[in-house]
């Protein structure tokens, strides 16, 4: 079993590789000085994060706003699209399938550039609206994929049966298809929220005055002053996300077992 020992070694080294940056970040968040030399424990960077960093929090709320709205839109549109693609055959099906999956296979920068050029072309200047549209666009393919794969697992005959029993289209949709697809829809929504919170490249191209999201703001912080406030922020964000994941455990169980 030499192979398995080798893969075990690689796996644990990889874990070290993955966690080392987080560890370094967290340690220096509590360092008194700005430098990489340890001078003493201090919470000063956390204090500055919570009291003296208005712009960070503005960007934070922008991010939350965009993530919820764009994920909600993408989930609603994408789920309907997935149902359509999955249950029906129609003329433009191939087209819709191909085009809506294309954003997945292009590097982010291409999407960012083309959206920017497009928005300038149609003279759309509202930063938040641009970001909302861009995020919805790159979230749609993910929603489609996740919901389609969920629907794939199901038995067509239930719906046929419902129809045979006289159920109307909207009844089948609301009573059968959507509840069945719900775990997929929810995980699609969660993935979309995450993708949106995470995106920097596309957002930085299309954002406008005062509409920086958190990643864009973090970029402007790390490009100008390396400040341990960023470390403090990352500790807070990581802690927050882990708590959130923990709180939502019942939800995940539901998704996994349904």
């Amino acid at each position: 079993m030499k192979k398995s020992r080798f893969s075990k070694l690689v796996f644990f080294l990889t874990l070290v590789f993955l966690f080392m940056p987080l560890f370094v970040l967290a340690v220096y968040a509590f360092n008194e000085s700005k430098n990489m030399l340890w001078t003493g424990f201090s919470l000063v960077w956390f204090e500055r994060l919570f009291t003296g960093s208005r712009n960070i929090w503005r960007a934070f709320w922008n991010s939350i706003l965009i993530a919820l709205t764009s994920a909600a839109t993408a989930t609603v549109l994408g789920s309907l699209g997935a149902i359509g693609i999955n249950w029906y055959n129609f003329k433009l099906k191939k087209y819709v399938q191909t085009v809506s999956l294309l954003p997945l296979v292009l590097p982010e920068i291409i999407i960012g550039v083309s959206m920017l050029i497009f928005f300038v072309g149609i003279d759309l200047h509202l930063g938040l609206l641009r970001i909302y549209i861009a995020h919805t666009t790159f979230n749609l393919p993910f929603v489609l994929l996740v919901v389609i794969s969920r629907l794939d697992e199901f038995d067509f005959s239930i719906i046929e049966a419902a129809r045979d029993l006289g159920a109307r289209e909207h009844q089948t949709l609301l009573r059968i298809i959507i509840p069945m697809a719900m775990p997929g829809i929810i995980s699609a929504f969660l993935i979309a929220v995450t993708m949106s919170l995470e995106d920097f490249v596309i957002t930085s191209f299309v954002s406008g005055p005062g509409s920086s999201t958190l990643p864009v703001h973090i970029y402007s912080m790390i490009r100008t002053g390396v400040s341990p406030v960023v470390n403090a922020l990352s500790v807070v964000l990581l802690g927050g996300t882990i708590c959130l994941v923990f709180l939502m455990r019942p939800f995940f169980k539901y998704i996994a077992h349904e």
Partner: protein, 284 residues
């Protein structure tokens, strides 16, 4: 009689991606054939200048560098991801390990790059450690070169490679391996001949998931590269858009990247088809 509501269901999605994705990409394609305005932007006059500019030795140099960096990052990612996924799939604590792989990616991607800056910097964590340990006297320049870019790219896309590999390896029937060994194949030999063909789909998606984003990388080379040989096509596009305002050239470069990534995708589809055909042949 079943009514066909397919178009109705997909109409919103179809319209949305057409307007906000396909149309913009077509505009970019058109712009790449236009002339550049005096102070940037475009002039509606047909021109191949953007494509002619691509033939310059400087641009070709960046193209080659970009290719090499993204290929190196992809290969390295795969070499690390394969044993990891293998170990995870065979272990008893699968969900714990999956969770551990995902945790680092719950922090923002820029913060992770920033952490690497702090680790690899001239007065960073690693140099401090090595100097303190007496291994080196002067700092080593880790940052702002092609290796820093490759390492951080591997870091950024590793889970995207591990996850698809894991899910195919998990489905793999390991008794096949044992059978091969019983028939006298050596361990590495059995893995190569029995396992790899079976998890090919996973390998190909892992390669695509790392190659496509690294080929268009922009933030990573911007923040940990930027020196000689660590300037990539993504940076050219960003510079042309954000600084020089040479839209036709930025568009043409975007089209080039799009072609390369779709070509990669085309290979994937072909590989899938031939794999499916091979499977068919085996069955019959």
């Amino acid at each position: 009689m079943k009514k066909n509501h397919g178009l109705l269901y997909t109409l919103p999605t179809g319209l949305w991606v057409t307007v906000f994705f396909l149309v913009p990409v077509i505009i970019v394609f058109l712009y790449s054939f236009l002339d550049r305005g005096e102070r940037g932007g475009i002039v509606w006059r047909f021109s191949l200048e953007a494509y002619r500019d691509m033939a310059s030795p400087t641009f070709l140099h960046i193209l080659v560098i970009t290719m090499l960096i993204s290929l190196a990052a992809t290969v390295l990612t795969l070499l690390v991801a394969l044993p990891c996924a293998y170990y995870m799939a065979r272990s008893k604590r699968k969900s714990l390990y999956l969770f551990l792989i995902i945790i680092p990616f719950l922090t923002n991607f820029l913060i992770r790059i920033y952490a690497w800056q702090a680790i690899l910097g001239n007065s960073g964590f690693l140099n401090n450690l090595l100097i303190r340990a007496g291994l080196i006297k002067n700092h080593i320049q880790f940052l702002y070169n092609e290796w820093a870019v490759i390492i951080v790219l591997v870091y950024s896309y590793l889970p995207y490679a591990i996850l698809p590999l894991y899910s195919t390896i998990e489905k793999f029937d390991f008794s096949l391996l044992e059978a091969a060994r019983d028939l006298g194949t050596s361990h590495p030999g059995s893995i190569l001949r029995v396992m790899v063909p079976n998890i090919r789909a996973g390998i190909v998606s892992a390669v695509l998931f790392t190659f496509i984003p690294t080929f268009g990388a922009y933030a990573v080379p911007k923040l940990v590269g930027g020196g000689k040989n660590s300037f990539m096509l993504g940076n050219i596009i960003a510079d042309e858009i954000l600084v020089n305002r040479n839209w036709p050239f930025a568009s043409a470069t975007s089209i080039l990247i799009t072609l390369v990534t779709t070509a990669a995708l085309g290979l994937y589809v072909l590989a899938n088809k031939s794999a499916a055909r091979a499977a068919q042949r085996k069955k019959t």
